[in-house]
């Protein structure tokens, strides 16, 4: 009996070495062939530039001559010359841009989430013209950001803008406001445009989640006589929470790298600059590739950190068995 078991064991081991049928072998071989071009291109246009950016952040490279630079360690980030602290981490403009970006992200994503839920609930109801409504809310999403910014710029124009005109007529303001040039209101203007442009994205993701909810639980709640608000907070909201989280994360990551909206909408002052604007300004306008790369690297690290935390916390299941 024991001999038979041992023999079976050897058999299994011998078999294991040649166990892959030609179907599996050829499929795995072709899998690598199929992804190789994409991987090579991504390594070239994403991996390599990212690595170079991080490398440049430790050098004094200048845009005029990118091949002539010296390694200077962490001096772009933080350096001490004769007791005086220098570098990115001591630059108030950098910290202003960080604060601007975080504030912009928090405010716009919060508003978009609330409005997105409302719009999604409306689109989830059956009413004549629902398809048309869904198309209409997609329009702001499709308009290029630059164009949106320009349109709003015009509407917010201090002398001829329609928004000042409306508010004056309604008696809400006494004199025309300089919305985009004024540091106090410029970021609010950016939030308004962002909300206008991206609420539909949020709404559509939430709507997709709403439409996947089983209908019978709502019928059961109706039979039990639960009030609609209770149904929303006790049933709907918990059930769409995972989708809502994904949408919030996607939007937050997008908002954290905001560039074009603020760049075009506001008058490019340091009071309203985002992190991306700051980095590009160092890089292109001031030709300080080293400093700009340091800012870029920090932005990357901040966003990477957020991604890693969310992926770990949300346990987003990736690459699971396709079956």
């Amino acid at each position: 009996m024991a001999g038979a078991v041992a023999q079976g064991d050897v058999f299994v081991r011998v078999a294991a070495r040649r166990r892959r049928s030609s179907l599996t072998r050829s499929r795995i071989r072709s899998a690598w062939l199929f992804i190789a071009p994409s991987l090579i291109i991504l390594a070239l246009i994403a991996g390599w530039p990212l690595a170079r950016t991080i490398w440049f952040s430790f050098t004094d490279a200048n845009l005029n001559n990118l091949s002539d630079y010296e390694f200077i360690g962490f001096e772009n980030y933080l350096a001490n010359y004769d007791g005086e602290w220098l570098g990115l981490l001591t630059d108030p403009d950098w910290w202003q841009s960080v604060w601007n970006t975080v504030w912009f992200t928090l405010v716009s994503v919060s508003i978009e989430t609330v409005l997105g839920i409302i719009v999604a609930l409306i689109l989830n109801a059956t009413f004549p013209g629902r398809g048309l409504m869904r198309a209409i809310i997609l329009i702001p999403w499709a308009i290029p950001t630059i164009v949106s910014a320009k349109m709003w710029n015009w509407m917010l124009h201090d002398q001829f803008g329609v928004i000042n005109d409306m508010l004056l007529r309604a008696g809400l303001i006494a004199a025309p406001m300089t919305w985009t040039a004024n540091a106090d209101t410029a970021l609010w203007a950016a939030v308004a445009v962002d909300v206008w442009k991206h609420t539909s994205f949020m709404a559509l993701l939430i709507l997709a989640a709403l439409q996947m909810l089983p209908q019978d639980i709502y019928e059961a709640a109706k039979v039990d006589g639960v009030s609609p608000t209770r149904v929303f907070f006790r049933i709907t909201l918990p059930l769409i929470k995972p989708a809502l989280l994904v949408a919030v994360i996607f939007r937050s990551l997008d908002a954290l790298r905001v560039f074009d909206l603020i760049y075009v909408l506001t008058s490019n002052s340091r009071d309203t600059a985002s992190m991306s604007i700051y980095a590009r300004q160092q890089l292109v306008d001031f030709q300080e590739v080293g400093l700009g790369s340091a800012a870029s690297t920090l932005i990357f690290l901040i966003i990477a950190l957020i991604v890693v935390i969310t992926l770990a916390a949300g346990r987003v299941r990736l690459g699971e068995d396709p079956r």
Partner: protein, 274 residues
């Protein structure tokens, strides 16, 4: 009570609709007003003055800008779909070692802040001699579209029943034939969706286009509009800018309206199922 909530509901619908549509509407009516007419606010279209539309093409190479945008976005879409389709088959259908990690990496790339690669990309494009050229922009934009194309197509690919693929293997198909003869036709609707999303991403791209081009003739539409100047340095030509905005927005909006359902499916496939 019931009537009241009905009215409230419709007021809300109308308010959302107005909020969504008004800026575009206002841009359109502004684009048809010129000269001093622009310096008074108007809520209703009065007359159709095409001056701005002529000026757009007159004062800068806007036709060339549009063509550049089409070339860049078109090429980027074609390359992304071509590479993305085969990669999506491998990721969606074949269990190989390291798949989850690779897919995760690709998703991570699609979340890269563009500015994080800006200096490295600048160096790359310059050293390849592609600065201020369309191929340079195409290369850069692939970083934005390729990962997300692979990702969305993979989620679509996973939804196709595996039996169809197995039937094809029993019929004697190789993996390449399965992709070409079975999955490609089945994935056509998904490819349209993904291609459209990739097109919009590339069409709207601003940071790379602004940084990697120098001359007006090589610019795509977004930097061209952003950098439009008037006859004097102090006053922006709002009418012309609005006309340009309308010109580049209308085709996109038509696309979105025509393919509305597909776009929604693509957006949710990329996000919800992730």
């Amino acid at each position: 009570m019931k009537v009241l909530s009905r009215i409230g509901f419709w007021l809300l619908v109308i308010a959302i609709g107005l909020f969504a549509l008004f800026p575009l509407y206002y841009a359109i009516i502004s684009s048809f007003r010129s000269g001093s007419a622009l310096f008074t606010t108007a809520y209703l279209p009065e007359r159709f003055d095409p001056t701005n539309y002529i000026a757009v093409f007159d004062r800068q190479p806007f036709g060339q800008n549009i063509l550049n945008s089409i070339i860049v976005a078109g090429t980027v879409v074609a390359i992304s779909l071509g590479l993305g389709m085969t990669a999506a088959y491998a990721f969606g259908r074949i269990a190989f070692r390291g798949r989850a990690l690779l897919l995760m990496t690709i998703l991570a790339v699609s979340m890269f802040p563009q500015v994080a690669v800006l200096s490295g990309m600048f160096e790359l494009i310059r050293s390849l001699g592609l600065y201020n050229t369309l191929p340079g922009l195409i290369l850069a934009n692939l970083m934005l579209t390729l990962p997300f194309t692979i990702w969305v197509l993979t989620t679509f690919m996973r939804e196709l029943p595996k039996e169809i693929e197995e039937a094809a293997f029993v019929d004697g198909a190789t993996p390449w034939i399965v992709v070409r003869r079975v999955f490609l036709p089945l994935m056509a609707p998904a490819a349209v969706t993904t291609g459209l999303l990739a097109f919009i991403v590339s069409w709207n791209e601003f940071l790379f286009a602004l940084t990697f081009t120098l001359t007006n003739e090589r610019r795509t539409v977004p930097p061209a509009i952003a950098l439009m100047t008037g006859s004097t340095a102090y006053e922006l030509p709002w009418g012309t800018i609005m006309a340009a905005s309308v010109i580049v927005t209308v085709p996109i909006i038509v696309l979105v309206l025509v393919f509305q359902r597909k776009i929604v499916a693509g957006l949710t496939a990329g996000a919800v199922k992730g």
